[in-house]
């Protein structure tokens, strides 16, 4: 969601604006080095694509639908520098013409939704594609995790800005828990769509996926007079794109990463209010503390001093949360499948139950 005017106070908005301007300047130099004079038309068309794809509705269930935010997708497809430029331009024009996001909050919006999302997504993506074997499936799996991590990361960045310069004192633990909770769910949707879209591009034009330049598979060789020579660049993927692929690996990776995320992120989520509590006590303003986000959680029983227990309970809560989500999700899938004409034909549906 775009941040409007009056949400973050003026000094922090200005500081975020300066940061965003710096990031855009760095991206401009980098993109010009990467694309030289092709930058303007290509980045412009990619920006138009992001703007259009945000209007593509993905129905979830019962009349609700979501849409792609596109930060992770842009980072993977065109690289981090061009992606930052494209998203900044989209946010700028949305702010000026569509009043979507405040003008003074433009810096905040570019920082949170442009820079943080793109940088986190690209870093995670490159890390995972480096670790996993060079195969198309590991590229889509990396895209899944990258998008999944990038959305809560941008929510966390927003919470940080709100903590420094928010105009209303909502307990920051509550803001953080609510933001991360909602955005992990949004992130799962974003991750599925991003992975599927990257997979679709990879099947047709693997050379266009910036994050895996050189192609996920070994480069194509031609046999000329008995000797192998490199095929000319920009060849088509020899594999037919229509072959049905199992997405079980994708689902398993997603589930494992969701569990890991819940385990680690929830630790920080529950650690953060502790730090704030201490600050509040130091400042002598802890009368508000009984309204604290973590007060009602089972974590409160473990005591603040015992970190090992806090970590365990936080991680446990996260894992339980993900399990609950999976159970509810499976239930939704089953209901949908019962309504569908051909039960169990969609591969990801079946695999989800297996996983």
């Amino acid at each position: 969601m775009h941040v409007p005017d009056g949400f973050i106070d003026a000094p922090v908005s200005v500081a975020a604006g300066v940061f965003a301007a710096g990031a855009v300047a760095v991206s401009l130099r980098g993109a010009r080095r990467e694309l030289d004079e092709r930058t303007a038309p290509l980045a412009g068309l990619v920006a138009a694509f992001i703007f259009a794809v945000q209007m593509l509705n993905f129905p979830v269930a019962a009349g609700t639908s979501g849409h792609l935010m596109g930060g992770a997708l842009a980072a993977i497809l065109v690289g981090p520098r061009t992606a930052v430029l494209c998203l900044s331009v989209v946010l700028l024009l949305q702010g000026v013409f569509f009043a979507d996001g405040g003008l003074t909050a433009l810096g905040v919006n570019v920082t949170v939704m442009g820079v943080v999302t793109v940088v986190v997504a690209y870093a995670v993506f490159r890390l995972l594609t480096g670790l996993l074997p060079r195969a198309r499936r590991s590229v889509t799996a990396s895209a899944f995790v990258a998008a999944l991590v990038s959305v809560p990361a941008s929510a966390a960045a927003f919470t940080l800005l709100y903590w420094i310069g928010g105009t209303t004192d909502i307990p920051i633990g509550k803001v953080f828990t609510a933001m991360i909770g909602v955005h992990v769910l949004i992130g799962i949707g974003e991750a599925v769509i991003t992975a599927l879209t990257v997979g679709a591009v990879l099947a047709v034009r693997p050379d266009l996926v910036h994050g895996v330049r050189g192609g996920p598979a070994a480069p194509l060789k031609l046999r000329v007079d008995g000797a192998l020579v490199d095929a000319p660049a920009a060849t088509r993927d020899p594999e037919p794109a229509a072959a049905p692929r199992s997405s079980r690996g994708l689902w398993i990776t997603g589930l494992v990463s969701a569990f890991l995320l819940a385990g680690f992120v929830s630790f920080y989520a529950s650690a953060s209010p502790d730090g704030l509590e201490r600050v509040a006590a130091d400042q002598g303003i802890d009368e508000k503390a009984q309204e604290h986000g973590a007060a009602g959680s089972p974590l409160a029983d473990y005591g603040v001093g015992d970190i090992a227990n806090a970590r365990l309970s936080g991680g446990l809560a996260g894992v339980i949360g993900v399990s609950a989500t999976v159970v509810v999700g499976t239930g939704v899938f089953r209901v949908i499948r019962r309504r569908g004409e051909e039960p169990g034909t969609a591969p990801h549906d079946r695999d989800h139950e297996n996983a």
Binding site: A40, P41, A48, A52, V53, C86, T167
Partner: protein, 253 residues
């Protein structure tokens, strides 16, 4: 928040506001919103005066109130968020219409609602009195990096082309009996998104080649430099200066 962007934004007219150079208007709107954000929320009357100022601008630009109000719908998601604030913010409690709400929460909700509404209204006035292309010229005049302005202008020029491409793909899907009902159809939709990316990127390559063949070397020639004289600057500055006076009164009273 991509939905609902298709409506016509610019409203043709020949008012003094329409005639102002775009960079003057951009600076004026930005300063106005900055002043609004800096106003203390306790000075409720100040926000009423700001709204009156914007109303005066709308009258000068001959923008009907209905048009303006319809465009304010953009902020609905935020109104929902602001309405939650009185119930989640801790602090001194008070009773409004028999419901217990917190006083700091009420102030916070008022703060966000007032400032965001004024910001949206100012942006809407800017967008409805200034053509897209003129805004880009104004941004260029305000020393936004030329490359960024070029990217933005390409996005605006080809935004409708890409959106139309997406619409044609949707028609093609529907004419083959496809209906998006739930998560199971995401694979097809994502494949469309992937195809849309490839088409956009390839169009970008073609556009670049066409431009190179016409002598493009990385910069666009400036053929219509926008200029503003002192009188126009003074006219545009009326709004932020009056707003600043209100803001200073708000701090001192």
């Amino acid at each position: 928040m991509g939905a609902g962007h298709a409506h016509k934004l610019y409203r043709q007219g020949h008012s003094p506001v329409h005639g102002l150079p775009p960079h003057c208007k951009l600076v004026a709107v930005f300063c106005f919103v900055l002043v609004v954000v800096c106003t203390p929320r306790e000075a409720m009357w100040a926000f009423g005066l700001y709204a009156a100022l914007l109303g005066a601008v709308a009258a000068a630009a001959r923008i009907p109130a209905g048009f303006l109000l319809k465009r304010l719908v953009v902020e609905v998601p935020f109104v929902a968020f602001a309405l939650l604030m009185p119930f989640v913010v801790p602090g001194e409690q008070t009773t409004v219409l028999g419901v217990s709400v917190s006083v700091p929460g009420l102030w916070g909700a008022w703060n966000v609602l007032a400032k965001a509404t004024l910001g949206v209204a100012a942006s809407v006035l800017l967008a409805s009195t200034t053509e897209l292309r003129a805004v880009l010229l104004g941004l260029q005049r305000l020393k936004l990096p030329p490359l960024l302005v070029q990217i933005a202008s390409f996005m605006i020029r080809y935004g409708d082309v890409v959106t139309d491409e997406m619409r044609r793909m949707a028609i093609a899907r529907r004419s083959r009996g496809f209906e998006a009902r739930g998560v199971r159809q995401w694979r097809v939709l994502a494949a469309s998104a992937g195809a849309l990316f490839i088409r956009s990127y390839e169009r970008g390559e073609r556009v670049h080649l066409a431009m190179v063949s016409r002598g493009y070397a990385g910069t666009m020639p400036v053929i219509d430099e926008v200029t503003a004289d002192r009188r126009q600057w003074a006219y545009a500055a009326t709004l932020p200066v009056l707003a600043l006076a209100v803001c200073l009164l708000g701090w001192t009273l």
